[in-house]
Amino acid sequence: MEERLLNDISYERFLNEEKLMGSKCLKCGSLFVPPRPICIKCYGTKMKWVEMKGKGKLVAFTCIAIGPPFMIKEGYDRKLPYVSGVVELEEGVKVVARIEGVDGNKPETIKIGTLVQVTFLHRGEGANSTTFLAFKPL
């Protein structure tokens, strides 16, 4: 794998390539997703990229009826809420992401602890293209 700086720009590029990547401290083994350039456990200076398996469980969520303009553009509104959540990965770290494959109008049917699998949402074209990290129930 080519050298990429341990930052959000690289993290986003990896997402675009459908890889969920973090950084691991070579000294103490602490794992960070999204990546950190500095280990905040031991302040070791050498970190390496590691890829996550993309499996985890839902630990918190919300169904959002009033979203920012970029979500409204995707068609979400008061009648069609989308779901954002916190997922704890098998590797033991948590990430925030969009949650797909669940009904934002029926929050009572969405359960904490649900096993989820990563999925990548590619939106926009060319210079405006971006990839959203998302998870869906297994």
């Binding site: 959000d8 009033i66 979203g67 303009p69 954002s84 916190v86 770290v93 934002g104 904490i112």
Partner: protein, 421 residues
């Protein structure tokens, strides 16, 4: 921590004022701050010559985005005729003026200045709800914003985690909302100075007058459970769990303790002051508390030599109903997981053992974000001096009051303890 912290010299608060909070199409930031300043001047018992004010610290989160104008320090300094004295803007999202207060305290404690004005202002209502949502999301972490999280969304997720851990539910959030409205009903400066019952009666009267079906809510909780009356914003945060979009300004006058009696025979003393920072949502070990608030509280209690039980009244940052429940736990007033029970038992009501948000809180008083931190201190000023009118708490020997401000989704938190001697 390396031993107890201390201030270089004592600080007193000798004046406090705020504009009315609300939605004002015809008032701009300068006008709002002028209102707050004029009221502050009127509260200094023995008067103050504005020419004696050495410096101003001004909290503002993002008028840059909301009204496309930055650099508010000198604008307000010029408004008040303070130039060429120093004006410094502080930014800590919704805790911006709480940081201004802290800088003012340090400026006097260092011995550099004797009289400092600290305050805040925000002008939000001239943008659409979607734009304000986007503007506020700038105070979240970039990962949260990209995942579609709005501010209500982050607190919605926190509420879901809190419910799962402690067995609370939406009804417990409603207790916070009903209490806030009951207090705000007695606060003429509040954006919504009506009780939930008042709102229900207004709706019923309107339906009757228009010949429409009359709603059959039996009590406040039935009203708050009605999706027509109280729609979801970000589950489980509904409209009445969320603070409004507001315009407003507030300020307080700080002076060195040794000159406080030149201004008033009834000053309040800044005995505790603390600030903390916190991680983004995904990096929190546990979603059900704010590490920044716990740290800020510890700093302030240590400086003051006080315990949570010593604090008799407090304003806390109820940007969302769930936040009030978590803050009263993080500040040590109630144990983790017990806050929602305390609210349900009425302990935090105006006539309870530990009145919380007697002003109506952010939910009802309004939340012009940059003005909120010092706005909370205006309420503690009134309560500790026995000037809160109809909403004066019935506690005898009122001595210690406190205010806690949260910036962003827990990135910044502050805690201030005031004493009346």
């Amino acid at each position: 921590m390396r031993g107890r912290r201390k201030l270089g010299r004592g600080i007193a608060m000798v004046g406090a004022g705020m504009s009315k909070f609300g939605v004002f199409r015809d008032k701009d930031s300068k006008y709002l701050f002028a209102e707050a300043f004029q009221e502050m001047l009127s509260t200094v018992d023995k008067g103050v010559d504005p020419k004696d004010i050495d410096a101003i610290y001004l909290g503002n989160f993002t008028n840059d985005f909301f009204v496309r104008q930055g650099h508010w320090g000198p604008i307000i300094s010029d408004l008040l005729g303070f130039t060429a004295k120093p004006a410094t803007r502080t930014e800590g999202a919704c805790a911006s003026s709480a940081l201004a207060f802290r800088e003012g305290v340090f400026a006097i404690a260092s011995g550099f200045y004797d009289v400092v004005l600290v305050g805040g202002v925000e002008e939000m209502s001239k943008r659409s709800t979607e734009e304000v949502t986007q503007g506020l999301a700038m105070a979240a972490s970039p990962y949260e914003a990209k995942s579609g999280f709005t501010f209500p969304g982050v607190f919605g997720a926190i509420a879901v985690a809190y419910f799962a851990k402690y067995g609370a539910n939406r009804e417990h959030l409603m207790n916070v909302t009903i209490k806030s409205h009951n207090n705000a009903r007695l606060n003429p400066k509040a954006q919504f100075n009506v009780s939930i019952r008042d709102i229900m009666n207004q709706r019923i009267e309107r339906a009757k007058k228009m010949g429409q079906p009359v709603p059959k809510w039996r009590d406040e909780k039935e009203f708050l459970s009605d999706p027509q009356a109280n729609p979801v914003v970000a589950w489980p945060m509904h409209l009445y769990d969320c603070c409004p979009i507001s315009d407003g300004a507030s300020c307080v006058l700080l002076v060195a303790e040794e000159i406080a009696r030149d201004f008033t025979d009834n000053p309040l003393y800044v005995v505790g002051i603390g600030q903390g920072s916190g991680k983004a949502l995904h990096a929190k070990e546990d979603l059900t508390y704010f590490e920044a608030t716990r740290y800020a509280a510890q700093e302030a209690y240590e400086l003051a030599g006080l315990k949570p039980a010593d604090i008799q009244i407090a304003e806390v940052h109820d940007c969302f109903s769930i936040a009030e429940i978590i803050h009263i736990e993080d500040l040590g007033f109630f144990k983790p997981g017990e806050g929602y029970k305390a609210v349900a038992e009425g302990l935090t009501r105006l006539d309870g053992a530990k009145p919380i948000n007697t002003s109506g809180g952010l939910k009802c008083k309004g939340h012009p974000v940059g003005a909120t931190g010092t706005g909370q201190l205006v309420e503690i000023w009134k309560q500790l001096r026995g000037e809160a009118g109809e909403r004066q708490v019935p506690i005898k020997d009122l001595r210690f009051g406190a205010a806690q401000s949260l910036g962003g989704t827990g990135g910044t938190s502050t805690f201030v303890i005031l004493e009346r001697r």
